[in-house]
């Protein structure tokens, strides 16, 4: 009998490496500087395979690797919210079961879990934006408004595009991807 915890840990590590590799495969470069890639895929994958906590850890570590790989830090709280916490919150998708009894993926459940996870990530980016604009924008202006405008133009389109791509990929080969062993 193999040590299950250790196997989950090595899978998380490998998923983080995979996310990083996929983050280099740019599908589309956003005009404002963001890029659309499939880095979220391995995180979701671990989340659905081993549950929420494992997904969150994968996200946290992926965020930290991104940070080490050269992220931009404009505020002490912003770097936590924009990197480890944002990806970590994506992992909450794993708290929602997506499999039917016959081990097929229920697309509706997957979509729900993915939207919750994506929303978690979005929330984190919005909060990071609020902190940034509260610090750097003119006083008396509402930082929430700016953060929403910034994210609406920047992160939300990227998330939606990636979301569509991931849903298509999952519909096509989700079963192969998750039950490979």
């Amino acid at each position: 009998m193999q040590n299950e915890k250790l196997r989950i840990m090595t899978e998380i590590a490998m998923a983080v490496a995979l996310s990083t590799v996929l983050s280099f495969l740019r599908l589309w470069r956003m005009p404002m500087g963001g890029s659309v890639n499939l880095e979220m895929l391995p995180i979701l994958f671990v989340a659905f395979r081993h549950g929420g906590p494992a997904g969150i850890v994968t996200g946290l570590l992926h965020g930290t690797v991104q940070l080490i790989a050269g992220a931009y830090v404009v505020h002490p709280a912003q770097f936590l919210l924009d990197y480890p916490i944002a990806y970590g919150l994506l992992g909450i998708a794993g708290f929602f079961p997506i499999f039917a009894k016959d081990k097929t993926i229920k697309m509706k459940n997957f979509l729900f879990a993915f939207i919750i996870g994506g929303f978690g990530r979005l929330l984190s980016h919005v909060l990071a934006g609020v902190i940034f604009f509260a610090e750097f924008a003119p006083e008396g202006q509402n930082p929430w408004v700016y953060s929403l405008i910034y994210n609406l133009s920047h992160i939300i389109p990227a998330l939606i595009i990636v979301g569509i791509v991931i849903v298509i990929l999952f519909r096509q080969s989700g079963k192969v991807l998750i039950y490979n062993n």
Partner: protein, 263 residues
Amino acid sequence: MLKDITIGQYIPGDSFIHKLDARIKIIITIIMITVLFLIDSFIGFGLFLLFVIGVMVISKLPVKRVLNGLKPVFFLIIITLFLHMFLTRGGEVIWEWGFLRIEEEGLFTGLFMVGRILLLIMFTSLLTLTTSPLQLTDGIEYLLKPLARFGVPAGELAMMMTIALRFIPTLMEEAEKIMKAQKARGADFESGNIIERAKSLVPLLVPLFISAFRRADELALAMESRCYQGGTNRTRLNELELRRSDIYALIGVIIIAVLLSFR
């Protein structure tokens, strides 16, 4: 697609800055970030910039690489500058056109905020430019250790990070190999719109995922057969060691920090 990619921005070297202990460098970065939020004049920023340039010279970093780090925030900087220019009021009117008006105060605060952002990014990129990802991970692990008392498995987290960093080049190579193989069979990864391109990645993703998780499985088995028992009391190949120069550097930075923030 995957050619010429290095993980992280680390530029190897053997300067004084490169050799500093990773923990000390992380602490110094945190101190200096705080200082940047306390500085309230352009003179302060000027002195800080001198400090940044000093570090760059000592560590022999190419200026271009440091400036490269500023690219992703270009958009943010523009937004910040324009917000202040058009919304912050006070002082003389510098420029007016219809309902748009730039006043002295707005221009200065805008430039001030932009200066702060630029310095923040330059300084934090110095850390990643002079410290290898592995050393950074070790440093983070040590600094998280006190949290183990509250149930944060710092050792395990660092172990996973280290494995991930170790396997990024391996998986990259693997991805490239699979891509070549699929191209030889007629796969097309580069044309079509974004959805088509994503779909075309399936023949890459499936084997890549399968081989990555097979590796994970084998790794777990190998670790277990060598009696891996978890984070506590684990020894490491390269221990981080605090040397006298590290302490001096820390004391020096604290003095500079105090001088800059309470000048």
